[in-house]
Amino acid sequence: MSRWANGISRLLIGLAALAAVGCAHGDTASAAEGRLYPSGPPNGVAYLRFVNLTPHEVTITSSAAKIAIPAEPGQRVREFDPVPPGVELTGSAQFGEASKPIDVKLAANEFATAAVVNDGADGIAVMVFRETPSDFNALKSSLGLFNADKACTDAQLVAGENHQPVITDVASGKIGRRQVNPVNADLAVMCGSSGPAVQAKLGQLNAGDRYSIFVVAGVSGADIVAQRDEQAPLRP
C-alpha cells in the first residue's frame, strides 16, 4: 500500500472511529464485562476499496488526504481496507473539475467497492457495489463479476471456446459471484447471450483466492478489468 493510500485509509478509519466510540458504549459495554479478551474484531469489521474504471487517473479526496488512482492495468484496483461498520465514510472522487461524492455506511462483514466510472455528462460517476460474501474456501477460487457498464443489461461470465456459462445475468450496478475450481480457465465476458465475448485474463486461479472482473463501458462495447483481490490486514 502506498503512503498516500495508507493516509486515506487511516483518515477514513479515523473519522469513523470517533463515531464508533460513541456507539460502542451503548452496544458492547455489557458484552465486555468479565472478558479476558475479545473474540474476533471487538466492534466488527467491514471492508472498503476504491477502483478506477475510467481511462484516466482519478483522485479520491477526504477532508485530510488525497490519493491518486492511476488508469494503468494492475493499478486500477486497490486493496480492501478494513473499516468500522455502522459509520458514515465520506469523501469524493475527482477528475479535472468534475467531482462526485462518496458516502457509504457498511454493516459488519460487508464489502464495498467504490468504482469510479466514465460518465457521459461530466466525465465521472461513482458506482458502489456492496456484498456480504459467505463463500470463503481455501480449496476453491471465488470469481466476482461486477457490472459497471450501464449499456450492458445482463453480463455473463463464460469459460472456454463453447462459452460455458459461469456467472449469468448480472444487471448493471450488480455483482454476480461463484466459486470455481482453481484452474487456468479461458474466461470471457459477454453482454447478453449473443454479444461478442471479451477476454477476462486472470491466468491460473489460486485456491483460496478471490478475483474481481469488472465490466466497463468501452469505446466500442464492453471492456474488462480483471484482477485478484487483495485485503489489508486489520491491525490494532
Binding site: T28, A31, E33, G34, R35, L36, Y37, P38, S39, G40, P41, G44, V45, Y47, P82, A108, N109, F111, P133, S134, F136, N137, A138, L139, A207, G208, Q231, P233, L234, R235, P236
Partner: protein
Amino acid sequence: MNGLLAGLAILVIGDSHMVTNGYLITTLHDDLLAQGAKVDTYGMCGANAGDWVYPTTVQCGRAERIGKAGAEIDRKPNVPTYQIDALLAKTHPNLVVIEMGDTMAGYGQKALPQAWIYQQVHALTSRIAAKNIACVWVGPPWGSEGTSFHKTFERVKEMSEFLSTAVAPCKFIDSTQFSKPGEWPTIDGQHLTASGYRAWGADIARSLDHVVPQLAQKP
C-alpha cells in the same frame, strides 16, 4: 496408537488453551511425547492467527514448553508475540499443529466475521505452506453457554464448519466431535477443567495418529 508420530518433530501452537499448566501445553504435549515425537509447544493468550504473523503484543501472557522440559509461562502484560517464521526456523518441524478458534469466532457478535477469520487463518497457513511443512488445525471445543465469554454451541458449530473449509492446506480436526455439547465442564465458559484438558489432549493425539498418514511431510 499406531506409532506414526514417533520420531516426528512437532511444533504445537495455540491460544489460551496452551498458556496454563494442566491445559494442552501439559496434556497434549505429554501425549505426543509419549508417542515418541519431539515436541515444542508455544501458546499466546488471546492471540488470533494473524498475531503469529504480524508482530504485536498479547495482554494476558504467553508460554512455551521445549521438549521434555517444563512449561515457562510469562504472564506479563504487553508481552511480544511469537512469530511463526522464527519458530519454524528454530524448531525445524515436520508437522505443525495449530489449536485456535475461540479467539476469532466473534462470540457475542451477531454474525461470524468470516472475511476477517479467513484472512487471519490464511495469513498463518500460507507461511507454513510456503515452507512445505505439513499442518493440522484443531478447532475449538464446545465450552459452556451463558458466561461472560458469550460462547454458544451454535457459534462453535458454525465456527468449526467454517474452519473446515478455510484452513487448507492444513487438515482440520473438529474438536466438537470429541464430546457432546456441555459434556466437558468449563471454569469460565471457555477454559476446561483438568479432566477436560486430559480428554481433549488425548483425543487430539489420537486424531493426529489417524491424520498424519494423509499428510505429505517434509523429510
